[in-house]
Subunit: 300 residues, 6 copies
């Protein structure tokens, strides 16, 4: 639930209902680019939960493995736009439906048939059972030889940097692709230049390390080579979700089987679409819309 206008929340203020979540944004982004995607989560048996599943279904994301918790309400976030440039979020997640994600929801066969398993650093921070589910999924993918992608997605409201570092280090060592911002990378490796940090992360195991640098674009390290991508200039109307949109584009490229350079370009394009439309995922492009930001102009 996000405030429509900048300013401290006040009685009568207009809010906009939307659903958001790093994993859902990735799933929608990959689906809009034409790949089959599956989202596994847990929602309450309430209006919010119904809305989340309906909308994912509209986006052709497979939600058949989701849990509908009979007792707990769906998780929430309240976003205040304290100023035009600063968003302040209050999370309602602890002890709510989303934290009940469990090993029982991990479908080994489905994972074995996937092109990529994507995990985030949010899920293991929600609860012990959610953490177990992450590990079970990871194991299933490793077992089946399915590449695993991880976005660090550190959330300070959910756990300390120390707790996060300990848990994420375990996950990273089994992953093929790791996404992180510089601050997030610093959870696991010493602060240094972006390329040095990418190298340190790669030393932990992943074959591809992708660092998201905000306005400075992104950088990937693959087979010892550093590839850089500039941010694509657009009018920014809502920065939230840019990183997840970026991941969606990159993973769609991975599923396409294209080069790292091409994947970065696709990732940056998805990020640009996301920030030039309100909401986390609403602006994500279909494949044929990609040209809008790739030089082919449209009539205004």
């Amino acid at each position: 639930m996000a405030a429509v206008e900048p300013g401290p929340l006040a009685p009568g203020a207009a809010l906009r209902m939307d659903f958001a979540g790093a994993e859902a944004t990735v799933a929608i982004g990959v689906s809009r680019l034409g790949h089959h995607s599956v989202w596994v989560g847990s929602v309450g048996d309430d209006a919010v939960g119904t809305m989340v599943l309906d909308r994912l279904r509209a986006e052709r994301v497979d939600v058949s493995g989701c849990r509908i918790d009979p007792e707990l309400p769906s998780g929430l976030m309240v976003r205040e736009r304290r100023t035009a440039d600063h968003i302040r979020a209050t999370y309602y997640r602890r002890g709510l439906a989303g934290s009940r994600l469990s090993v029982a929801q991990v479908d080994t066969e489905q994972i074995a048939a996937a092109g990529v398993l994507h995990l985030t650093g949010i899920t293991p921070a929600l609860s012990a059972c959610a953490r177990d589910a992450v590990h079970a999924a990871l194991d299933a993918a490793v077992e089946a030889g399915v590449p695993v992608s991880l976005d660090i997605n550190y959330r300070s409201a959910l756990w300390s940097r120390a707790d996060a570092a300990a848990e994420l280090a375990k996950l990273v060592s089994h992953c093929d692709i790791v996404f992180a911002g510089l601050d997030e990378a610093a959870l696991l490796v010493p602060s240094a230049s972006a390329s040095a940090m990418a190298e340190s992360l790669a030393a932990l195991g992943p074959s591809q390390v992708v660092l998201k640098l905000g306005g400075d674009g992104a950088l990937a390290l693959h087979r010892g080579r550093v590839i850089r991508q500039q941010a694509i200039p657009v009018t920014m109307v809502d920065p939230v979700g840019a990183g997840d949109a970026f991941v969606a584009g990159y993973l769609a490229g991975v599923l396409d089987g294209t080069s790292v350079r091409h994947n970065l370009r696709l990732a940056a394009t998805c990020g640009a679409f996301a920030v030039s439309v309100p909401g986390d995922w609403a602006g994500l492009p279909s494949r044929r819309e990609l040209d809008l930001l790739n030089g082919t102009d449209i009539q205004r």
Copy 2:
């Protein structure tokens, strides 16, 4: 956070930020009618908590005894207007700041100096510490000879009818004024006609029993006499908060020292104001606005 338009919640739906709460509505209503009122509660150290305290202060409600919890977010409610006639609420209260109300916040001197102590059946359902606080406040009032008012305000999402009945029976026996709807009264006494139920409730201790009958108005039992009040006809735009507005009017009458008949009339007038304006308390009248619904017309 209440949906603006009827219909299932959908992505992009407009919501309206507001704060609500049975006790706050009563405090604001009494204050607008010219009496000093104090609200004791617990909020989070966040945008929602700040908004609640600011707004109560604007209404001249004394909030100096409120707790600002350093860790837990403020409680929330999401109101879906499933149809034009049906509101469906999801509560976020368990484990949030509001449930941390505690005995430490009970100011014995302040209670001793009060005209009335008003309690609701919501607070003891929030947590053990909140329940203790209710009893401490009740004891302080009884000790000081301050009349105690209780609105049953049964919330099925918070506790079972059996648990509620056990706890509320204890409170009722020490109260002077009890407010209830017919369904709520049936927690404590056998279902029967409204006047018979009022008599059964009075037998538990209170000197005044006031039953809220919705569109059928209200009924008070005082010194063995039943006094009835019709609902005041207005265009209803938001039924939520009507009962609390009614209580505010009644208690303002008690503080005025007027008759039960007069108090019922004031209560019904406040209820009518509340339902003809969106929001729980926004429509509550100042004393001089009372005439708007008492026959003295205004230019339209």
Copy 3:
């Protein structure tokens, strides 16, 4: 400037800009029904004044005789919807452009060529120069044998009942058609039944007296006969402007040359259109739209 939602005005409340005025509503209503109409007024040289003249022009109302005051701002009204049923207006008129209407704007030739001269009881209350303008217009019409219509339109914020009665009595004695609500009629004649009051008013001079009775419809007295008209049932969304819309319909009938019974029917139809659309005049019908409320159904 009218509040969009019921409730006391609060910071951030949504207002809707519109222009309103008894005379403008009549002019627009007559114009939409296909007659030429002229509005003579005075506005400020500001955004509000420009908006008023543009919109009247859009409605084909001739505004070539209006004054644009080089110094004073346009008059304003702030409408709070205190409850769903009660509107509370604050007027900004005294010492503003509208009060500078003057004799210099009275175009004797234009009046002589008119089918009806319509005056209201608002204009003479604005200022001495506006009052003089009203008398000059009245004299010109009487001189030229043009029928004069007067709507009492008593505004308590502008003058006392005594002052209004003194002035309006002078005007009524020279008018052919007088419109009034029962409260307004009581300024000039003793309170009694509607038909008795109509007779008393007719005794002051006018050949047609039309009493607006709100939900009870209307009543006309003409040549000693009383003709009654029921209100036409519609969903009421904004009662303001109903009386002026009624007058517009009646006067359009007068210009059509139809019977009093027919004029009353047209008047009631215009009133019904006006109240079932927000704004004072926005809902007024064109001639071919009249059938919407006259039994010929449309596809919904």
Copy 4:
């Protein structure tokens, strides 16, 4: 695209994008009640077409048989709310994508596997190829022994009463269930009492005739017996779509295998949900929400 507020359309007026259509409303209603439903139509390769298909997919309606026309834009409707009680629609359908529905889209196997084939009187009015498609579907259902339902849905903007009567008579003779309003029934049989008209319609072939009587409820004729159903009282906020929601409920009952009386009750309940929420289909109930209007109260 429907005007948000009553009144003639004006520059700057707020509209609300939605998609509507008799057949889509029926498909969504049946799906929400737990049955598999398929919608076969034709949309443009544009924003409107994408929105329609996404939303139907969200509702679990199978749209895999829809055409996306590469050349023509999607059909449109502009709804002006001329007054609070009167909606005025302008249709953009002729020569647009919707009229390109064709025989090639009729999937004989899918129809043979269906519980009911539902047709409307709108489709054959769109174009010759759409009409052919209707007949091909009808033939396939008859061939496979699948019951056929037809809602007359007469649209005067699309064809004359004479043309409609000629075409619809052909369809009705092959149908099992026919839905009509009284005006629509009068296209095919002489005007008379509702039950007499139902009998005349039944004489044309259908084993069930259901007449929609608006505020007077509905009436079904089955095996020579007339069964009546009252309208369920709710606050009406948007009457459009009520008839289609009614059909959805009735057909869900047919698929449930319940009695005509029960089907009528379900139909009326769906109609009541639809009109108490803005939009044609947004308010349609899931099965467990049915109790909201069936006496089991919810907390407000």
Copy 5:
């Protein structure tokens, strides 16, 4: 009908009703700058058509020569703001009222009395009869010695570049002033530098060629001299309509009889006003508002 917020169109999305059109924007712009202007077009006998004519009348544009088509609906455009920077329009024009503009509407006397006849490349693309009307108007102006202005206004949705080039070449050869963007100029002359293209266009006949260069301003070629004008820096909120506003300013300058340099300045000022206000024409300036963007500051 334009989406209010960026993002793919979704059910429930807010749209804003407005009317737009290259010729109407020019007519309004010229009128606001104090010249008499006439708009000749064709609209449907519906809410949209009524709105268009009312609003033009409000702007003092003479619409007495417009056709109101008794059968076809008014043309429409749906504008999706796919991102903050990209607008995607779907046109509803073919087979609608606007395409019925005909020779019968060409008023030779009115044209002979005009200061300028302004044509666009849109009209001849609508239908054969509209094309005939354009030629008839052009002939009348040439006959009477009235200067003819043409804005290429190429619309790819209406015709191919080849068809447009063939038709526009005929028109250009008879015009005095031609407006084009660089892409539009390339329909008729080889791509080259802006000044070279202007010279090639001038070689086709026009005495003044004005190229609109977007953010790079504009360039006019007159009597062999190239005059350049920078764009005036403002906050851009809606780029649509800028080119037409520019033309309005230029033509107002032509009617003023001022120099080409002055006309370009006035044109750029009108373009700047247009883009800093939502809507195509709403922001166009009156003559005395011009100073707002010409250095004379106003209090903010």
Copy 6:
């Protein structure tokens, strides 16, 4: 009452109710930064007046010394956003409640106990009695040795530059801190460089002169030293109120007892908060929010 969207005011345009005023913005800003503040003014006994006092109370500003005028309406301002960059205000102040501020409201003891008395150049321009009140307050502060601050705040709609200069010169000579823009400083001293003008102003008496330079930041002259402060870069959504927010920050620094350099920094931070939120004062920071714009990032 401020237009929500850019463009000339039109019927139906959305406005936003808010209250504004240089002195109120300063009082709220100082209060949010943790100091006690008192606002002395005069409002009407109407919805606007009630809203102003309620909201100031919510902000913990002491309004106990305000007058509620029994006869005159509250002052108003209508703000048209003519373009995205230009706001055009029409003031309704003359002859309204605000101009009745009087000597009787000057509480000598309260002033003697204050940390700073802040005056503006608006109040003495409202009426003779308001001017007398300003002088009485000034005298009381001087008498008690309380520092006096003055913001020139020249309003051309209220008085001429000559009248303002004469009056303000008197005030400046008794003040300790003077705030002015360059244009405002030029009322009292010859135009020159900012630092030279500051010196000229200091020569008139004040020990601190602070010049507000808009996008160029600010400059203070104190004990012969010039200290400069850059503007803090933020996304500007509403420039109005920036200067008053700046003053609030500076005076809070004065009350904190910090250095001029620190006060300027606090002032610039407050200005930055104010412009990145709609409304004059809504965005003003609490003390702990200051870090948002001071380099410590928050999660977006």
